[in-house]
Amino acid sequence: MSGTGLQRRPARPAPPRSGIGAWAARRGQRPPMEGSSARQFETPAPPSPGTGGSTRAPLSVVPGRARRGRVSVVVLSLIALVVALASILVLNIQISGGQYRLVELRAQEQALSQQNEALTQDLEFYGAPQHLAVMALDLGMVPAQGSGTVDLTTGSVEGDPVPAQPQENHEILVDRAHQTGSEAADRAAQRAEEREQEKAEEEREDAEQRAREDSAPAGGSLPAPQQRLPGE
């Protein structure tokens, strides 16, 4: 059955081939050249081309193909194995790389959402009605006292709108929100403190001035009546 013997027959050198076939054919012809002579002796004497050559000739090609196939299967398996291993490796690297990236992105997301939270907190603090009112007051704004409505059908002004008048001692009596962890709140607290100090200082100065005025008519001979300080 073995075709090797047949192929090794020097009498029938394989015709030159091209492509893979040529390569396989070259490889196929190597064993006889490299192999031990013992083999060749073992092989039965090649039948003469004359005896039954007509039936054997077509068989000689098939085993050659089989041999080529086996070699390529090994090679292909090896390649497949390498590819598979490589792809598993790549996949693993990718997955764990992705996991690290995921962790990184999660951290980034967390940092951003925390930043967002902090900014929202500041924003909402600024937007609180009493804070707006205080800021408006600082800008010198005053509450409107009345409003009018323009009737679009007649073009007349309903109501009795008057310009807003500056108000003395208009104070925002609703305290600010005492929040922690908000820069806005910290700043507002600081401002409130400053305002309070300013006010206290003003009052003190006022009182001092009043005291001086009070004591002046007395000619300085009498001590100023301390109890009459305003605001006491």
Partner: protein, 655 residues
């Protein structure tokens, strides 16, 4: 032949190696068997529990805390929000010097003292405070609670091996004291303690989830390992009908007046008439939910809901509605009012001295005359009076979604004493919350249909689905015609009667003042409760404002709440862009005789009040101890039918 050859090739060249390789194979196989058995032993039977231990070691279970829902105002402004915070803790037993690896590869020795300084800087705390928390042998101690993520990151970068961070959360109230008592607050252990936080806790809280996963040695999650997750359900958000701006306006105005008069407290209720939605529930002093520790315990609740007071003359509107509905009077019915009224041996007087006068019923209400009100109201049987009070909801809670609502005190008609059966007609001897008083006016202004007030407008699920809460169904109390006639009475009170300060430029408003004596906690009465409840614009009432001041100090003629009402109502109308009234106010003559005594009509409203003051004083003396039973907010006293040897009915003569 191939087979034969392959054996021959295997055997022939390595004849010497056969024995060796066989031994090797056997050895290897034996080793394999041993290893296999060991593997089965270790992995399959797991006698030492190593696999389990390893799995336990790898796996981490995290509780995924449900995010508490937000509380928002009607415009979606956030009133309460949960933020990510960290609790910084320390294992004191591990506090010692350590080597810190620096970026350039060198190590730095960090002493505990240095750590204290670094921590204090990072956490913005006092050095001594931090030192105290690091000193000791406890394995767990807080260094700081609720620090911001930013601060925690700074602490983490210090690489202190004995300091840990635990994620926690903090509830932030951006508006602070604006609507603080309505929104409520949380205790230190995440327990809802007040306001909407408390009543809507179930909705806001949500359900915690958990997550089990495996991590590798470097702490990164193993992606292919099995995970178990029970889903977390975040809390729903609650949207209130409170309007932050209106709330602020009301708080500012009522605080101003309360401070001016040195009153115990003041409240203002702002309500949309159509559906009873509460837009503002202001207190003169309010808890800042951010800073519960420094709050006065009295400021924790919304007083308009928790405090029952005697309403005083605002209740005359209820009496008038009942009398008109029963067909006893119309605003133009002429009634002769005596200087004082003797009925069942009880003497009823007014807040100002007058002779016998011919007045319309409108004139009686506009100048808040007790005598005339009792003349009309006494045509109702005591049972009828009680039934009418009940129909308007007096003695019952409104069911608003706030904790600690007081039902007020309405004694059964058969327990009323001789005087109380008449004083209830003008709001003495009965107590109710300012919110309840507001609902009486809401019913009148809403064409006779009372809708109980609500403050929760909608619930927004974690996925954003908005479900409006069900409003209570309106209940018809009086007919539309009656409601219209009573509205006329209210308008005349402002345009012609004793509440001219309540007027709002450009709008037709109507309302009623109230002055009642405030029951003292020690028994008897001390000070007054003044109030004004009004609606606007009267031709199509949309908004209601009720202002109440408790024990304002000063002359009774100057302690009213009308000016505050005008201020709040004016801003509310402008805030909602209500077009100014274009119709003329209704005119009903107050008196049908020749006005001889001109005080109530011609004098400014102050003077009316003056009369009340003087009269109140004199009357207090004469009426001493006649009607103690009235309505102390002490339920025992009232239930027993008559109680405190209490002084007077001075307040009978509320304006």
């Amino acid at each position: 032949m191939a087979r034969a050859r392959s054996t021959s090739t295997g055997d022939t060249p390595g004849a010497l190696g056969i024995g060796r390789s066989h031994i090797g194979i056997v050895l290897v196989l034996a080793l394999l068997v041993v290893l296999g058995l060991r593997l089965v032993w270790v992995q399959g039977f797991d006698v030492a529990g190593r696999a389990e231990a390893a799995a336990t070691d790898r796996s981490r279970t995290e509780v995924v805390p449900a995010l508490r829902g937000e509380i928002r105002d009607t415009d979606g402004n956030v009133l309460a929000r949960t933020l990510q915070r960290y609790d910084v803790t320390v294992d004191q037993s591990k506090v010692r010097e350590f080597q810190r690896l620096q970026a350039d590869g060198t190590a730095q020795t960090v002493t505990p003292t240095q750590a204290v300084y670094e921590l204090a800087d990072a956490l913005e705390l006092e050095d001594t405070e931090v030192k105290k928390s690091l000193d000791g042998e406890k394995q767990f101690e807080y260094v700081a609670r609720g620090v911001t993520p930013e601060q925690w990151n700074t602490v983490r970068e210090l690489d202190l091996p004995y300091v840990y961070g635990q994620p926690s959360s903090d509830r932030i109230y951006p508006n602070g004291p604006v609507a603080g008592s309505v929104v409520g607050f949380m205790g230190g252990d995440d327990e809802a303690l007040g306001g909407i936080e408390q009543t809507q806790d179930e909705l806001l809280r949500g359900t915690d989830g958990s997550r089990t996963f495996e991590i590798s040695a470097d702490g990164v999650r193993i992606p292919v390992a099995p995970t178990e997750e029970s889903p977390v359900t975040d809390g729903s958000s609650v949207q209130l009908s409170i309007d932050s701006d209106v709330q602020f306006i009301a708080q500012q105005a009522v605080t101003e007046r309360t401070e001016e008069l040195g009153a115990d407290w003041g409240t203002a209720v702002v309500m949309r008439i159509e559906d009873g939605a509460v837009l503002g529930l202001a207190d003169s002093s309010t808890v800042d939910p951010n800073d519960l520790g420094s709050a006065d315990p009295e400021d924790l609740g919304a007083r308009a809901v928790t405090q029952a007071v005697e309403p005083g003359s605002t209740q005359k509107i209820l009496t008038a509605a009942a009398a008109v509905e029963e067909g006893l009077v119309t605003p133009r019915t002429e009634i002769t009012v005596p200087p004082f009224l003797e009925i069942d041996g009880e003497k009823i007087t007014d807040s100002f001295d007058h002779d016998e006068q011919d007045r319309t019923f409108a004139g009686i209400i506009a100048d808040s005359m007790n005598t005339g009100t009792v003349l009309v109201g006494s045509k109702l049987s005591p049972e009828q009076r009680h039934a009418w009070l009940q129909r308007f909801g007096v003695g019952e809670t409104t069911g608003i979604e706030l904790p600690g609502e007081s039902p007020g005190i309405l004694a059964p008609a058969d327990q009323w004493d001789k005087r109380q059966q008449y004083t209830v007609l003008f709001g003495q001897g009965v107590s109710q919350t300012p919110l309840r008083t507001a609902t009486v006016f809401q019913a009148i202004a809403n064409g006779g249909v009372q809708v109980e007030p609500r403050v929760v407008e909608a619930v927004v699920d974690a996925d954003g689905t908005r479900t409006p809460t069900e409003r209570p169904e309106g209940e018809r109390i009086v007919s539309e015609e009656t409601a219209q006639q009573v509205l006329d009475l209210m308008e005349v009170t402002v345009t012609e009667g004793g509440a001219k300060e309540a007027a709002v430029e450009g709008y037709r408003v109507g309302g009623k003042t109230g002055t009642a004596e405030a029951p003292s906690p020690e028994g008897g009465y001390d000070g007054y409760t003044t109030s004004f409840v009004g609606v606007a614009p009267i031709e199509d009432p949309q908004y209601l404002v009720a202002v109440t001041l408790q024990r304002p100090e000063g002359d009774v003629r100057t302690i009213g709440a009308t000016g505050t009402f005008s201020k709040i109502m004016g801003q509310v109308l402008r805030h909602y862009g209500v077009p100014p009234s274009t119709t003329e106010p209704v005119e009903i003559p107050l008196r049908t005789d020749e006005p001889e005594k001109t005080a109530p009509e011609d004098a400014p409203p102050d003077v009316v009040a003056t009369d009340e003051a003087t009269d109140g004083a004199t009357d207090g003396a004469t009426d001493e101890a006649t009607d103690g039973a009235a309505a102390t907010p002490d339920p025992n006293a009232t239930a027993s039918g008559s109680a405190s040897p209490s002084p007077s009915r001075r307040a009978d003569e509320g304006d």
